[in-house]
Amino acid sequence: MSGVSTATVEDLAEATAPDRFWNRQRRLGAALVVIGLIAAVIFGSLAESATARFTISEDAEGAALSINGQLGAILFGIVTIAAGGALLAGVAKRWQTTLLVLGIVTFVFSFLCWQVAGKFLPLVDTASGSLELALPLILGALAGVLCERSGVVNVAIEGQFLMGAFGAALVGTLATSVWAGLISAVVGGVIIASLLAVLAIRFLVDQVVVGIVLNLLALGITGFLYERLMQPDALKYNSPPRLPEWRIPGLADIPVVGPVLFETNLLVWLALALVVVIHLGLTRTRWGLRTRAVGEHPTAADTVGVRVRGLRYMNVLLGGVVAGAGGAYFTLVSTGAFNKNMTAGAGFIALAALIFGRWTPFGALGAALFFGFAQKLANYLSAVGSPVPNQFLNMLPYIATIIAVAGLVGRVRAPAADGVPYVKS
């Protein structure tokens, strides 16, 4: 335990193997150069040499950012190559993230220039549409953060969404109150969460198994009741009021940002606030410290007197609240009625966002926004009849997640005890 022996160990630690040439930064750089080349050459040559207009106002004729589509595709592609080249050349590590983001963003711009050439893309509509599509993903992924940071794998987000959406539609209609609907959505999410908690924590059933089966259970129950109640009499059971859009005067007049962020529904604000709250909670509070300890090393937490199972129960149920609210999006915001299997895999995209966002609230937010944007873009492209099939854009969240977990772009690490039930010896 002396200073002498510690020093010896540190000497050894320094003697690690020399860095290999193809380290993470160089691999990323090479990847960026390749996609940059694709952008500059393929997008550039395919793009029409016509003006691509990105309109700022709500109509097609108003103020817009314009650029020649072909020129834009090539220019942005070159910037991507440059960013990749800088990474390859071995710039300082602190520039790594900046350059990576720059490279990806310019690649997307290049793609947009190609697709929008000769047409226009309304920025406000795209941004608010992306945010709206991202909304359930944010909430679902946050629910995942709550569960998984305390060590319970949650693949039942899809089921929580469905129950939430169904509860919101049914009770919202019966009570003719959107708020009653929202509360029942939360209750719906909590029902599935409590089943997950009891089966996983008390009965030690494999958490992935429970999650998958609960998804099917939620699918079955909501589908069954939909066909028995809602389909025969939609007016009585399935016409909930919609969540109103609120406008904050002043702030809503800011161009682009205003209509997107300050002329919207409560759920959006709730989701964004939750990102901050959960982030601060996890990093700055006693609850967060204990949650993370329980997710990483439950035995250690137990030996210092933390109630492992109690904390896990609480976090899984809290996750149910958040995911249930996410489910309300489908009926109270998006369509205004429940439909069988209406979530169509959104819960799994939320799971992807959770993983892609490395189990952190802000990471999940970023991933959800990215995936929401991809979906919105897919809708736009199929609306303007682009040759790029929208199915491939819709695959983006899944493929991005596979790439992330395979460690091809940096490593994602789950909480160490995620999915491992806690049993006292």
Binding site: M1, V9, L12, L289, E296, A300, A301, G305, R307
Partner: protein, 503 residues
């Protein structure tokens, strides 16, 4: 603690144990691996509940449902496997469970105060720790200091240390003993769990010896080592292995300039040269964690070789798969039996062909031959005295010693050029130890080269014809087994005097 009894199924881990610890004393709990020492202390710490018996603190009866009750009663414990969250900082680990907060119900962490508390305790007891370091980056010695500081910040009256010296060098051990002594002087009681006699004699005020779940005696530090050992093991132990002088032949294994990294990418083996000849046992002595594991794994093709050469009868083993190494005539008894040695859900018969299932007569690489597997299993069970109800029982139902015999039987039932046995008798009962030692010597006598790695110096001295002492990834010296144990001990601690190399 009075009349403590704890059962796990049919196994009685603690059988009516009584133990009393006075304020300010260092009370050693001495016993073999698996004697029930940790089980007893886990009940005192609230991790396990006793089936019978009661715990009294300051004369008052207490029931500890969880560690939080024990902590409230002023009990702290440093576990054998550290209870630290690797991705947390030292300060976070120490704060966990006893966080300083402000902001009332929100429970806002007061990091500055947490950090200050850590530094204060660390200074008061002379246990240097860096509050901002990540635990996963710390060496084990420092992690142990963190554990002790963690317990001390909770104002303990009684501190339990479970096998604290297993991962320490003799020097570090001495320092730890000094810390324990000074803690006891401040009036704290210490329960010190160990199976090492030297440490017990050096520090303990009183000694309780536990064997097979029972208290078999109490003793004072004046009791001789022989008596303590006899109490601990239950009969006069002879760790002497009877054998004839070796008759070394040609060089079978030749390792030169070997460099290997551990799982974290830290250099674990740093330029090792050694030679094992046919018909001799080379023992590797050293405190656990000095690169022995990585050395053996590299030879077996289980770990990447960074530099250097490994040759088996002049053929290079570098870059070979484990299967190729095994097929080249190397037998391997891995150090972690339950993790690497056997598949507990497999039957005895299946475990006996774990590395031979695809070769005649047990199989042809495509299909298995259950009949041949079964017949051979019956033979081995008799030959190696494996106590099992049937070769079709799962290995998990066997005792540790019999599981180890399954491994030994498997590895010795094919023609070998080299046998590597790592910690061959860890967690094995005394009867099986003798049997296994004799089997190893027998293998040597038929002309196999044998490499034995053990952190028990007695075992190495008993088995080996030559002893290589390993320290921090290097072989410090190769010595004869009749060298005084103190000198070998110094070598294990990294102290090199001149002219050690007797080769």
């Amino acid at each position: 603690m009075r009349g403590i009894t704890k059962r796990f199924g049919d196994l009685v881990a603690n059988d009516h144990i009584d133990i009393t610890v006075e304020p300010g004393e260092v009370h050693a709990l001495l016993g073999e691996n698996g004697a029930g020492k940790s089980t007893l202390m886990n009940q005192l710490y609230g991790l396990l509940q006793p089936d019978e018996g009661e715990i009294l603190v300051d004369g008052e009866k207490k029931v500890f449902r969880s560690p939080r009750d024990a902590i409230a009663a002023g009990i702290g414990m440093v576990h054998q496997h550290f209870m630290l969250v690797p991705v947390f900082t030292v300060a976070e680990n120490i704060a966990l469970g006893a966080e300083e907060t402000r902001g009332g119900p929100l429970g806002w962490l007061d990091r500055r105060r947490n950090r200050r508390d850590v530094l204060e305790t660390s200074k008061r007891y002379g246990l240097p720790v860096d509050p901002d370091a990540l635990v996963e980056n710390l060496p084990v010695g420092a992690q142990q200091r963190v554990e002790i500081v963690k317990a001390l910040t909770r104002e303990v009256d009684l501190l339990i240390l479970d096998e604290p010296t297993a991962v320490l060098t003799p020097q570090e051990t001495d320092e730890l003993l000094a810390v324990m002594r000074s803690l006891a002087e401040t009036g704290k009681s210490i329960v010190f769990i160990t199976h090492k006699l030297r440490e017990v004699k050096a520090i303990a005020d009183r000694i309780t010896v536990i064997r097979r779940g029972r208290t078999v005696g109490t003793a004072t530090p004046d009791t001789s080592e022989d008596e303590l050992a006899a109490l601990m093991v239950g009969r006069d132990v002879s760790l002497e292995v009877s054998k004839t002088p070796a008759d070394p032949g040609r060089e079978v294994l030749k390792v030169s300039g070997l460099v290997v990294d551990d799982d974290r990418g830290v250099r674990a083996v740093d330029g090792v040269d050694l030679v094992v000849r046919s018909g001799e046992v080379l023992g590797i002595a050293g405190v656990q964690g000095n690169g022995q594991t990585e050395l053996v794994e590299a030879i077996m093709g289980l770990r990447e070789i960074r530099a250097g050469a490994v040759e088996l009868e002049d053929k290079s083993l570098a870059g070979r798969t484990t299967k190729q190494v095994l097929r080249a005539g190397v037998g391997y008894v891995p150090e972690d039996r339950s993790l690497d040695g056997v598949v507990k859900d497999f039957t005895v018969a299946e475990n006996l062909v774990l590395d031979m299932y695809d070769r005649a007569p047990f199989g042809n690489g495509f299909a298995l031959n259950p009949k041949a597997i079964d017949e051979s299993a019956r033979e081995r069970v008799t030959q190696f005295d494996i106590r099992t109800s049937s070769p079709q029982s799962t290995v998990g139902t066997l005792s540790g010693g019999n599981q180890q015999k399954v491994v030994v039987a498997r590895e010795m039932s094919r023609p070998l050029k080299l046998l590597i046995a790592a910690q061959p008798t860890r967690g094995v009962d005394v009867g099986s130890i003798e049997f296994i030692h004799n089997q190893i010597i027998h293998e040597r006598d038929v002309g196999t080269a044998v490499l034995v790695v053990s952190s028990e110096l007695d075992e190495v001295v008993g088995l080996a014809d030559r002893i290589a002492v390993m320290y921090r990834g290097r072989i410090l010296a190769v010595v004869a087994p009749d060298m005084p144990r103190e000198e070998i001990g110094l070598l294990m601690a990294g102290v090199v005097t001149q002219a050690e190399d007797t080769e």
